[in-house]
């Protein structure tokens, strides 16, 4: 057996050697043999790559002496190597570096043998699946786009044999356009060639050319993805068969018979919708239900698919439909509601169940499961992200069981996606109080804070942010599971998202807690660290740190004492003044609001520190400056602080000093001016009136201490 393998290996080696022969027949024969060996076989692709077939085939293609027949064989080998699952990228890079891309582009030029053009397009389409191709391709994009545009612009013939093959070449050219649009710069480069008009004309082709229709839609989807300008341009382009422009064509084709056409039409529509270039009604009434049907019926999609046979295409269509569904639902409550109404939640949970079932046993495909599960969890999380009813529907459909199971999966992407899904579901207070506790989410989530993947850590921490709110029965359990030291350790994590979410979880843990828990949290995290983070460079960390300080001081004097403990009264007040004196910029608004409420909380809760705050002129000045803020949340926070400082009055430890200071700073006049403003928001008006009560009477007498 070993002898046979060695003999076979020598045989393959000979074929590669023959590619350098001066005998054209020998070269052709070797190419054909290699081609028929590598097509369909990953093992043979790997074997020939080890035998340096890349260099040998590149030499054949870049030689001017090579015959058309040999070029066709060599080009087919190139395409096949590029399609290797494990080594395609390396093959593509190697081929591109040896000038193969440029050679293939030359083979597209007018006058070239039609079979060679078709073979070159197939090979280029395979090569462009890898980013290495154009990176190493020596700037062949412009020439490639020009050639491809020539093919697209030339259209296809009628009913003759030449016409039928021409449709195939057209389809391949369009697919190449799709593959080229991998970045915004490339999208613009391609769009600027005028290819959009040609693609839109293609959409008007008869439904008999379903592959061409699907390819055209795929190209339009790639061109328009996350590109508002191109989406707007597409929405304005007329034609596309059936009238009404690209948008109308996409909506119409979302109901086509062919699954791939439906899928790519929905992707175009989803792109237009996200960039607000498509009527909301069409998205909700047509596109979303079409996507849900695709999600629900991968088997049916496989039967209708124009590409490769079997469950492979059906599964791929299904996964892409899931991804498109998540994309179109992102941050759009109305579309999410439409998805729920169309049965998306059950469909997605059903896919998860099917994926688990398919992955069981000796013959399960782990990679396929990971792809399916990631897509399904992410889409499910997006669909339920803003709506309470959707979250309940997900729980009723059994989502938690799949989530808990996935939290222990070997694939980090699956774990992270499951965390994200859980995070959005437990935004629901009701679910946090009931189902989440029973689902067994807590222990695996706390465990995932120590995961090897920072993505998993970050999403697990974000989920705990929601899960550990003050109304959650899981707080006590989480603390018993050792949550605090883990969160404290994560504050030093390398990944910013992990640090932010950990601090956010700490902040939420400090809401409405008893003194013992508060003290434990503060001890675990460190007050000095919180104060330092509130002055740090990271805006999100500042927000959560100041928010945490606010929460520490919110409930008791002991909390206020803890805030002052690390740096002492003078330094802490100086820090507070600096925070309150920040300009009211949108990026930092949350920090400012927390700082104002922190000052307020100290004044309200702490007899020991009230007077110090009320007498700190820079701090009070900073607070007063925000009373007239245009941002209602800032104004309200400042007004609460002013009320609290003014409420000291005669007889308190401050002896009215706070009120006197406020009067000297002209607060009464500011309040009067605010009340006279008819555009003042209602919530601010109410607070202003509340403040005015303190300024209506006579000036309180001199401070006994000062006297």
């Amino acid at each position: 057996m070993a002898d046979t393998a060695a003999a076979s290996g020598a045989e393959h080696s000979n074929y590669v050697a023959q590619l350098g022969s001066s005998d054209p027949e020998e070269v052709y024969g070797a190419l054909r043999t290699i081609k028929n060996s590598v097509i369909g076989s990953s093992t043979k692709k790997a074997l020939y790559m080890r035998l340096d077939v890349v260099a040998a085939v590149s030499a054949v293609l870049t030689s001017a002496q090579t015959s058309v027949a040999s070029r066709i064989q060599a080009t087919a080998i190139v395409g096949s190597l590029a399609r290797s699952r494990s080594a395609g990228a390396a093959a593509a890079g190697g081929l591109a570096a040896r000038g193969v891309v440029a050679a293939l582009v030359r083979q597209l030029s007018a006058g070239t043998d039609a079979r060679l053009v078709e073979a070159s397009e197939r090979a280029l389409h395979a090569l462009l699946a890898h980013s290495e191709t154009l990176a190493a391709g020596g700037g062949a994009e412009d020439a490639l786009v020009a050639q491809v545009l020539g093919i697209i612009g030339g259209g296809a013939g009628g009913d003759s044999q030449a016409g039928a093959r021409a449709v195939i070449r057209l389809e391949l050219a369009v697919l190449i356009v799709a593959r080229l649009c991998v970045s915004e710069a490339r999208q613009y480069m391609v769009a600027n060639t005028g290819v959009i008009d040609a693609l839109v004309r293609q959409l008007g082709r008869s439904p008999a050319h379903v592959r061409l229709q699907a390819a055209t839609l795929q190209a339009l989807a790639a061109l328009s993805y996350e590109n508002a300008e191109i989406c707007a341009a597409l929405a304005e382009v007329g034609g596309g068969g059936g009238g009404g422009g690209v948008a109308a064509a996409a909506v119409r084709l979302a109901r086509a018979d062919d699954a791939l056409v439906r899928l790519h039409a929905c992707r175009v529509a989803a792109n237009l919708s996200r960039m607000r270039a498509l009527a909301a009604g069409d998205v909700q009434a047509v596109v979303v239900p079409a996507l849900v049907r695709l999600v629900r019926a991968p088997a049916a999609a496989a039967a209708a698919g124009a590409g490769a046979a079997g469950a492979d295409v059906g599964a791929d269509v299904g996964v892409e439909a899931v991804q498109a569904l998540g994309y179109v639902c992102h941050e759009d409550a109305d579309v999410q509601a439409a998805a729920r109404a169309a049965g998306a939640i059950d469909a997605l949970v059903g896919r998860l169940a099917a994926a688990w079932a398919a992955a069981q046993g000796d013959f399960g495909d782990a990679a396929r499961f990971a792809r399916e599960a990631r897509a399904a969890f992410l889409a499910l999380g997006t669909v339920v992200s803003t709506n309470e009813e959707s979250r309940r529907a997900a729980v009723d459909a059994g989502a938690f069981a799949h989530i808990v199971r996935a939290l222990g999966h070997g694939d980090a992407g699956v774990r992270a996606a499951a965390c994200l899904c859980a995070r959005y579901i437990v935004r629901s207070v009701a679910i946090c109080r009931t189902h989440a506790a029973d689902a067994g989410l807590l222990r695996p989530l706390v465990g995932l804070l120590r995961d090897a993947s920072s993505d998993v850590q970050a999403t697990a921490a974000a989920t705990l942010v929601n899960l550990l709110s003050d109304f959650s029965p899981l707080r006590a359990d989480a603390l018993r599971l050792g949550l605090l030291p883990t969160l404290a350790a994560l504050l030093d994590a390398a990944a910013p998202a992990v640090r932010r979410n950990a601090l956010w979880a700490v902040r939420n843990l400090l809401v409405n807690v008893d003194d013992a828990t508060r003290a434990a949290v503060v001890e675990a995290v460190g007050m000095a660290r919180l104060l330092a983070l509130s002055e740090g460079a990271d805006a999100a960390m500042r927000e959560h740190a100041v928010g945490a300080l606010r929460n520490v001081a919110a409930d008791s004097a002991a909390g206020c004492d803890a805030v002052f403990a690390a740096r002492g009264p003078a330094a802490t007040l100086a820090l507070l003044a600096a925070l309150a004196a920040r300009p009211d910029a949108p990026a930092d608004r949350a920090v400012l609001v927390h700082a104002l409420y922190l000052a307020n909380n100290i004044v309200v809760r702490s007899d020991a520190h009230r007077a110090a705050v009320a007498a700190h002129v820079p701090l009070v000045q900073a607070v007063v400056a925000h009373v007239a803020s245009r941002a209602p949340e800032v104004a309200v926070a400042a007004l609460w602080c002013v009320s609290s400082v003014a409420a000291g009055g005669a007889g308190d430890a401050g002896g009215g000093a706070g009120l006197r200071l406020l009067r000297r700073l002209g607060v009464a006049q500011v309040l009067a001016r605010l009340l006279a403003d008819p555009a003042l928001p209602l919530e601010v008006q109410d607070r202003v009136k509340g403040c005015m009560d303190y300024f209506g009477g006579a000036e309180p007498g001199p401070d006994a201490a000062s006297a």
Binding site: N36, G158, D159, F363, D365
Partner: protein, 251 residues
Amino acid sequence: MTASSKQNISLDEWEGKMSEVPIAKSDLNQLIMNYLIIEGYKDAAEKFSEESGLKTKVDLGSIEERMQIRFAVQSGDIKGAIERVNDLNPDILDTDPRLYFHLQQQHLIELIRLGRAEEALEFAQEELAPHGEEHPELLRELEKTMALLAFDFGGSSGGSNGVAVGGLLDFAHRQKTANELNAALLAAHSQPREPKLPALLQLLAWTQEQLDEKATYPRINNIVSAVLSDPAAEHSTPGTGAGASASASTA
């Protein structure tokens, strides 16, 4: 539902209703052409196109290539079929691992059929096993195929050992592989993978089964002759059961 509670539809009534349904001749011609093209009857398709005046967008020349490939599989020349497919469209087998596996599996079966067990074993080790490793969903089929090597079928398709596995050696399995490949070649040209006529016949059979529970009506009992049976004639036959009236209709 008893016979007495079923709705009775006479032959005249039935034929009257059928004549009200507009069926264009061109639609019927399309159905026939669809069948001829997909099943690969190139000469018949060309002749039919000529006689009916029906112009098809399908390249009739490509039928020849497809039929040659199909014939190669039906003859057991799987390597030849694979080479022809790769010449026609190298993407098909590279992007359809299941189809490629089934072709390789068929090649293995042919080697076993010819009694070339050692060659079959080497082929399975070198070609099929790695493929199965990469596509775990195909491993079950691979296991079944490898069982052929474990049992001595002596070139025959049956035997007392593993009848289910021995079915792989049936020539019908070649046909199944040929059909799968034919469907893939059709799909690559944006053509339907299966002809519509057989599906319509299946629909006819299903519809009649459904209707049998609700009505007596002129049934088509022989799809070859497509003669409508007269329900009145069936009911007038004394003391016979369904079997007897069916055979009377058939005669």
